[in-house]
């Protein structure tokens, strides 16, 4: 496929790995402890596992998987809210497939559907709007999820609904925003990070400037990266060059998609429809100031939080789950007590085992499962 195959060439990958090895030999500090480089975006996490990138890298580099999987970071109570909405008489609840099997404290959306709730998987919020058009007698709620990649889609769909005067469409808004999240990670005392792979598609929307505080205030390199193996290796190489030179800055490896100023139309739509929440509750990371958005007053009639009563209870994670530690990168997925035993993709206990962007699911699918299980037995 165009723009895909060229960036998967094994020969080029091999040479890049050799270049990385050469650089690592030149960075003395990594002989004491490995360099920790975090990929913030769940898409990168998935690609790293899928292409076995960790296995290609020298021991001196450790990849830390960040909290970039939007379904994974939702606290359990939020799934309960979705189930409550889905079970409200007259409601058609629409969601991306990733959220269907995430366990709530009582049940997942998939279980609610099996018990008779009208839950439908959609690929796009536009498909949810189309359902609302077809069923004017029903209330269609869309579960709005994700960082700045999916935020413009939700915003533009709301604007479209307004233009058409559609009255039976609303959004349960759980969109989150990347910059406060990265800041919270940098401020967290148990994180020791040497650099970042910057999210590719979030940056296509917000551009490269918002990351400047990372080198300027925290002295860490950031390289915005694409999603193919060569992109990721190339970006890692550039992070290492910055570390060796001791000159942290924001670089953009993903030129073919990311422009410095981002995407104006997408940013304008976000700005028009959403405003920052004072705080947002994350799974594993606790409450982070200004890390979520809500729908502005001007679009209140498209806001499911105002149109329905939502329980919004705080529910603690089951005790055996260590999703929080894995999300923060403190534990590797396979180090969770229940990984592969009580928690598998068929019977997930945490969202990280469900979403294609979740570290546990990716590890389960592509990691060296036999070795982990043997070591445990």
């Amino acid at each position: 496929m165009k723009f895909v195959d060229e960036f998967r060439d094994p020969e080029r990958a091999r040479r890049l790995v050799a270049a990385i090895e050469g650089l690592v030999a030149d960075i003395p500090t990594c002989r004491e402890r490995p360099l920790s480089i975090m990929e913030v975006c769940g898409g990168h996490t998935h690609a790293i596992f899928k292409f076995g990138i960790e296995g290609m890298l020298p021991e001196e580099i450790e990849l830390v998987h960040g909290p970039g999987c939007p379904v994974c970071v939702l606290p359990m109570g939020r799934v309960d809210d979705c189930v409550a909405l889905a079970e409200t008489p007259g409601v058609i609840f629409t969601t991306f497939g990733d959220a269907m099997r995430v366990p709530g404290s009582r049940k997942s959306l998939l279980q609610a559907k099996a018990e008779g709730a009208d839950v439908r998987m959609v690929y796009s919020p536009l498909d949810a709007l189309a359902i609302a058009r077809r069923h004017p007698d029903r209330e269609v709620v869309f579960f709005g999820l994700g960082f700045e990649t999916t935020m413009p889609a939700t915003a533009l769909t709301i604007l479209q609904a307004e233009r058409e005067g559609i009255r039976n469409f609303s959004v349960f808004c759980n969109h989150i925003t990347i910059i406060p999240t990265i800041k919270a990670i940098l401020d967290s005392p148990d994180m020791q990070l040497d650099g970042f792979l910057g999210p590719g598609h979030v940056s296509a929307v917000i551009g490269t400037r918002p990351y400047r505080f990372i080198p300027e205030v925290y002295g860490r390199p950031v390289v915005i990266a694409g999603f193919e193996p060569l992109d990721i290796l190339h970006a890692l190489w550039r992070v290492l060059v910055q570390i060796r030179e001791g000159r942290p800055r924001v670089e953009n490896q993903y030129h073919r998609v990311v422009r410095e100023e981002g995407n104006r139309a997408a940013l304008a739509a976000i700005e028009r429809v959403f405003e920052l929440r004072e705080f947002f509750e994350w799974r594993g990371l606790g409450s982070i100031d200004h890390s979520g958005v809500r729908i502005r007053d001007a679009y209140a009639r498209f806001d499911a939080e105002r149109r329905f009563s939502i329980p919004a209870l705080k529910i603690a994670d089951p005790r055996s789950c260590q999703c929080g530690e894995v999300l923060k990168g403190v534990l590797k997925p396979w180090q969770c007590k229940v990984f592969g035993t009580a928690c598998t993709p068929e019977t997930p206990l945490g969202a990280l085992m469900v979403s294609s962007e979740g570290a546990c699911a990716a590890w389960y699918q592509y990691g060296d499962l036999d070795r982990v299980m043997e070591a445990r037995a």
Partner: protein, 92 residues
């Protein structure tokens, strides 16, 4: 969710709503072009462009030139590396 797929705009289906058909790996789907139509230009100017599609929206145009430039850089990086390796190996 965050993984976009590259596709090519093949036709405009609804200029007013800025919808177009995008061919993604052999299948066609209607996608919103609202984020990639340049201001004050007709949606038709997108036809033929490569775009990155996310949840039904084209989020960015993919620059062919930039793609080629990145590949060229990678190529060079590889070459330099081989030379360095040759340098190190020579005489040892």
């Amino acid at each position: 969710m965050c993984l976009g797929i590259p596709g090519r705009v093949v036709a405009i289906t609804d200029a007013e709503r800025r919808l177009g058909l995008v061919e993604i790996a052999g299948t066609r789907r209607e996608v919103s072009l609202a984020c990639v139509v340049e201001p004050d230009r007709a949606p038709e100017t997108c036809v033929g462009a490569w775009v990155l599609v996310h949840v039904g929206f084209a989020l960015a145009r993919i620059g062919e030139e930039e793609a080629r430039a990145t590949l060229a850089v990678l190529e060079e990086l590889g070459e330099v590396q081989e030379e360095l390796a040759a340098m190190r190996a020579s005489g040892s």
